[in-house]
């Protein structure tokens, strides 16, 4: 039950885009049409689901202060938490490499349309951000962390598909010239963020 709460919470209330602005660069750049946006959203979700438990286990059994006691009692004073960023980013970068190879093999058209943004998933803030929030929130088990990853990923997917749909519609509107493209996308994202804030009042469990 707690997992379900966390799942819903991470999709709507703690939405990666609208609450924390993570992964904005690719969010703005790849949201011109729905199908590409959907593909990128799936890739990000997949990466979050895969890297979250790995990073959780790393954090729990290697990085935290005293985490190495499972090797030997003598290591209980070792604190490797300052290595967190490097470890997380290494996991994410190698994971991205894997996803890239898989997408290239199974869906060349998606591969072509994602272009440069596939390797850039490695530096998508949403994924590293997910790992850092996971560290901060101190989840009880790898399962919970995975659920959190899945929820955040779906939240991100929802956001980028939504904005892509709106951008497809407004392509034919008469927008003031300086606002075209980036400007109006920012404003729409802001308005969607305000809309998503109405979820803030919801108390789960």
């Amino acid at each position: 039950m707690e997992e379900l709460n966390l799942f819903v919470k991470s999709i709507f209330i703690d939405n990666m885009i609208f609450a924390y602005f993570l992964g904005m660069c690719s969010f703005i750049a790849v949201s011109k049409n729905v199908s590409t946006a959907f593909g990128l959203g799936l890739a990000v979700t997949f990466m979050l689901v895969v890297t979250m438990p790995i990073n959780f286990l790393l954090d729990r059994y290697v990085l935290q202060p005293g985490a190495l006691t499972w090797i030997s009692e003598d290591l209980k004073d070792v604190d490797l938490s300052f290595l967190g960023l490097i470890m997380f980013i290494a996991v994410i970068a190698s994971g991205t490499q894997l996803v890239e190879m898989a997408v290239e093999k199974f869906s060349p058209s998606l591969y072509a349309s994602l272009g440069i943004f596939l390797p850039l998933i490695a530096v998508n803030c949403a994924i590293l951000g997910g790992a850092l929030f996971m560290q901060q929130k101190d989840f009880p088990s790898a399962m919970t962390a995975t659920v959190y990853g899945l929820g955040s990923g779906i939240g991100w997917l929802l956001a980028i598909v939504g904005i892509a749909a709106i951008r497809e519609k407004i392509a034919y509107s008469n927008i003031p010239a300086p606002l075209r493209g980036v400007g109006i996308t920012f404003i729409i994202t802001g308005l969607m963020g305000i809309a998503f804030m109405s979820f803030l009042g919801i108390k789960l469990g």
Partner: protein
């Protein structure tokens, strides 16, 4: 030292080639740390430091990195620098480091870094790369400071923590705009800056 090309590397990112407004890089962290001016300035300085030095390091080893693993090499260099900055902040300015929380760590995934490393440092000598890093860092910081200034002024009526809106305004019914503190308004503030900037620089306008 400052040839024409180097000057361009240093000054173009301030306005004409601004990383946030024109290259659309580093939005992720821009928005979350701009509720108050002080963390925004600290964030800006951290990014300038990391960007300048990672540019120099990557530029120094640019001929020895195999292109297939360059992303991982770049990330490791950046991550090491970010860890230094993070430890430094925790040691000397604990309050601000608490406010910035995960966002210092997220400098690693700040697209400005990867973008500049890929686009500039990999193909240029260390000194121009250093200037490019400083320039882009400054361009980023300017936007951060402007956004944070307006959000703090309109949202809490303060600048750098000092009350600037006089009490009689409040007595006559002025209210701080609570909406400005909320994250979505950061986006709309940036959009206004984009609007202003592109109205001045018509060549940057997009056709759609």
């Amino acid at each position: 030292m400052l040839s024409k090309k180097n000057k361009e590397a240093l000054f173009n990112p301030l306005s004409k080639d601004n990383p946030v407004l024109v290259q659309i890089l580093g939005i992720c962290s821009t928005l979350a740390v701009t509720v108050k001016l002080e963390p925004a300035i600290v964030m800006g300085i951290s990014v300038i430091a990391v960007l300048a030095f990672s540019n120099v390091i990557i530029s120094l080893i640019r001929n020895t990195i195999p292109s297939t693993i360059r992303i991982i090499v770049q990330l490791v260099v950046v991550a090491a620098l970010v860890i230094i900055v993070q430890q430094f902040l925790v040691a000397f300015n604990y309050e601000v480091s608490k406010q910035l929380s995960v966002f210092i760590g997220l400098i690693i995934t700040n697209c400005i870094l990867m973008g500049r490393l890929e686009a500039f440092a990999l193909t240029n000598k260390p000194w121009p790369s250093f200037l490019d890093g400083i320039g882009n860092g400054l361009g980023y910081t300017i936007i951060l400071v402007v956004v944070a200034f307006f959000r703090e002024l309109l949202g809490s009526g303060t600048v750098l923590g000092f009350k600037v809106i006089p009490q009689w305004c409040y007595d006559h019914g002025y209210e701080d705009n609570g909406l400005m503190i909320l994250p979505p308004m950061a986006l709309i503030t940036v959009a206004c800056i984009v609007w202003f900037h592109r109205a001045r620089n018509t060549e940057l306008q997009e056709t759609n």
